[in-house]
């Protein structure tokens, strides 16, 4: 884990975890930057999430194809469609977009926490049903590990020098998407509508 400077409230962490999940998954550059941050500064996370929500996710996935990292993604459909499907799924099951798009600044932590429960349980269910994740390293965080330094799987931080094998402390176990199966859009379905408007008659 990140060595704490000042602990963040749960809701911010949840929120940030989600944003990171998407961007790490679909944006290789961002993934690299997050790795660089891994050694430290949690307070930076505060302002960042506010402007990041969905708009940015739509364009970024186009670059995804070229990236070697999400190798387990085997489905061939156009990549923006897949991203939008995932977004729709998270909204449907966990009200994800509603939560991220809402201005939470005026609410108490208790109110946000209550809403976060809905988002957490719904999105977790959706995520677990569609993406199988496992840690990159199976050791407990904080244990000493010795490794060769596979650039895809492991990022060295701190006093980085010399040649492998390297010995250091495992700070973050990492995540690997072992399997991902996304819903398929029916032909003619407008995937840009990630949540329909509702009118009660």
């Amino acid at each position: 884990m990140v060595p704490p400077v000042a602990p963040l409230p749960f809701t911010t962490r949840l929120f940030f975890a989600w944003v990171c999940f998407f961007r790490v998954l679909f944006n290789g550059l961002f993934a690299a930057k997050v790795y660089a941050l891994d050694s430290g500064e949690a307070p930076q996370l505060g302002p960042k999430p506010e402007p990041t929500p969905p708009e940015k996710k739509e364009p970024t996935p186009e670059k995804e194809e070229a990236k070697p990292r999400p190798a387990p993604v085997e489905k061939p459909p156009p990549s923006t469609d897949a991203a939008l499907q995932l977004l729709a799924l998270l909204q449907r099951e966990g009200r994800f977009i509603d939560f991220i798009e809402e201005d939470v600044s005026g609410f108490s932590d208790a109110d946000i926490g209550a809403a976060a429960r809905i988002v957490h349980s719904g999105c977790r269910k959706a995520l677990r049903e569609h993406v199988k994740l496992e840690p990159v390293r199976s050791e407990e965080e904080g244990t000493k590990v010795t490794l060769d330094g596979n650039a895809q799987e492991v990022k060295l931080t701190g006093n980085v020098q010399g040649k492998g094998p390297y010995t250091g402390t495992l700070r973050h176990r990492g995540w690997r998407a072992v399997e991902i199966k996304l819903p398929v859009a029916v032909e003619g379905h407008d995937v840009k509508i990630v949540a329909q408007a509702e009118v009660e008659l």
Partner: protein
Amino acid sequence: MSKDGAKSGAKYVVGIDLGTTHTALAYAPIPADETETPQPPVMLAIPQLVAQGTIEARELLPSFFYFAHESDGPQALPWDPKRTYAVGEHARARGIDAPGRVIASAKSWLCHPSVDRRSGILPPGAPEDIERISPVEASWRYLEHLVEAWDHVVAKGDESLALTKQSIVLTVPASFDAAARELTTEAAYAAGFEDLTLLEEPQAAFYAWLSDRGDAWRKEVKAGDVVLVVDVGGGTTDFSVIAAVDKDGELALERVAVGDHILLGGDNMDMLLAHMVEQKMIAEAEAAGRTLELDRWQRISLQHAARGAKEKLLGDPKAKTAQIAIAGKGSKLVGGTLRTELTREEVQQAIVDGFFPIVKSSDRPAVRARAALTQLGLPYAQDAAITKHLAALLGRHADALPSKSKKATLLHPTRVLFNGGVMKSPLLRERVSQCLDAWLSEDGAEPARVLEGADLDLAVARGAAAYGLARRGRGVRIRGGTARAYYVGIEGAVPAVPGVEPPITALCVAPFGMEEGTSADVPGGELGVVVGEKVNFRFFGSSVRRKDPVGAMIERWKPGEIEELTPIEVDLPAEGRAKGDVVPVTLRSTVTEVGTLLLEAVPLQPRKKDEKWKVELSVRSTE
């Protein structure tokens, strides 16, 4: 039928669990020859609409049917872009949004004795633009979806691999009577199945257990053991008792008793809990000086939250409370979220004590006099206490097996197998065991040991496929035959007395435990049938009279021992005879290989060779 199946070139045995709330399909390739070890059945991930325009493959297909409105556009599937209805998860979800357009629990309607199950009655209270469909058609649509999904995923255009060409085992509740079985096969034939066998669901659960255990099951169940299967699903509760007996040195399994049809399951528990939480929230709001009324969004959210809380509290004995948060109106999530918590005591009281109370073995479910209007809805169980229904079953069949102790007041199970989503909770399993063991110890018998099962949601489909392999000579089979004896009512020829019903004699046409593939001519009962007219006979069934042979005339019986079913009818074509003539006939009963009861009327003086007419199990309203 199994031989026919082999001839017809079926490549797979397919088990289908056509459930009240969910449908599932398991399959296994048929081994090429006797020496090959069969592969264990696997589940088909069924492609289905899960939201507007979104397809996903899931192991469970919710048994819901949605009539799309013109504003929805087509309910496109990969194999049919223009469909006007949806089956599965999207249909289920629309049931919350637009309840008037969705059919749920079609299976419960299929065994509703006082409605015409072949006529368009579903969904009840549908808007006028909907052409309602029958319970049979709804079941057919679910099966049709499986056929299309399979052909899309597995057969991929190969005609010989089409689902309709495979060897199908379709499960029905053990408590389904002859008419409900008949209707189920009607739906299956409409979907195009050719090689079909029915199997009782608790038996399927037991086959799944046998298949999981391999040969090791013989260590856990020995001759003399009596296995009670307790199957509590989303919509129904079903019990069966299977005895392991020594037949000429071989261990054989016999299904000796089945329970009544009980419309009571996990959905009732979720509804009760959601209602409780809603009341609690309203009370809390009132205490704080606010008024609270939940809108649709909030109710959906509440149902999910209550189910989640129930699963947590019933699944984890250490959990004291479960938080419940209900989403706000519209897209505003944070400000409008309502919170409360559900405590262990509340769930204990509502679910464990409410549905599984500790009762005496002599307790019986309460029966309320039915209001005249009940036939408009489903005949839900009038007593929610599942343990009382269980006590009734065991008490009623106390003498089903030769007992070691003379004064046994109930049938003594030595093993228990749980099945169905509800029984996933260790607390509920313990409660049932606790009740049962107390009854057994009062009766001087040993406690019953629990057989550890596998996946309680999917066992029925997997077990059905395993049975499909077993009936090809691969593995032990459970013998059972019909779970009831069937009777035709013959009115005594006595002068009519106003206000007094003429005495009726029950003529046994099919004995208890009549085996599949056997026929019996009914001696003694000569019936007069009018040519060219529909003639109705009263029809009865008994799940406790085990000894009545074919042709037995029963004049008196204890209340509840013989129950009236929907009537049967014969329609004799006028060909070769004058209209209005009375033709004397006798009856012949057959339990088909499929597992349905076939009654035929055979004229005493046939006009041509093998002349006979089918006696229909009427499924019309009893009015």
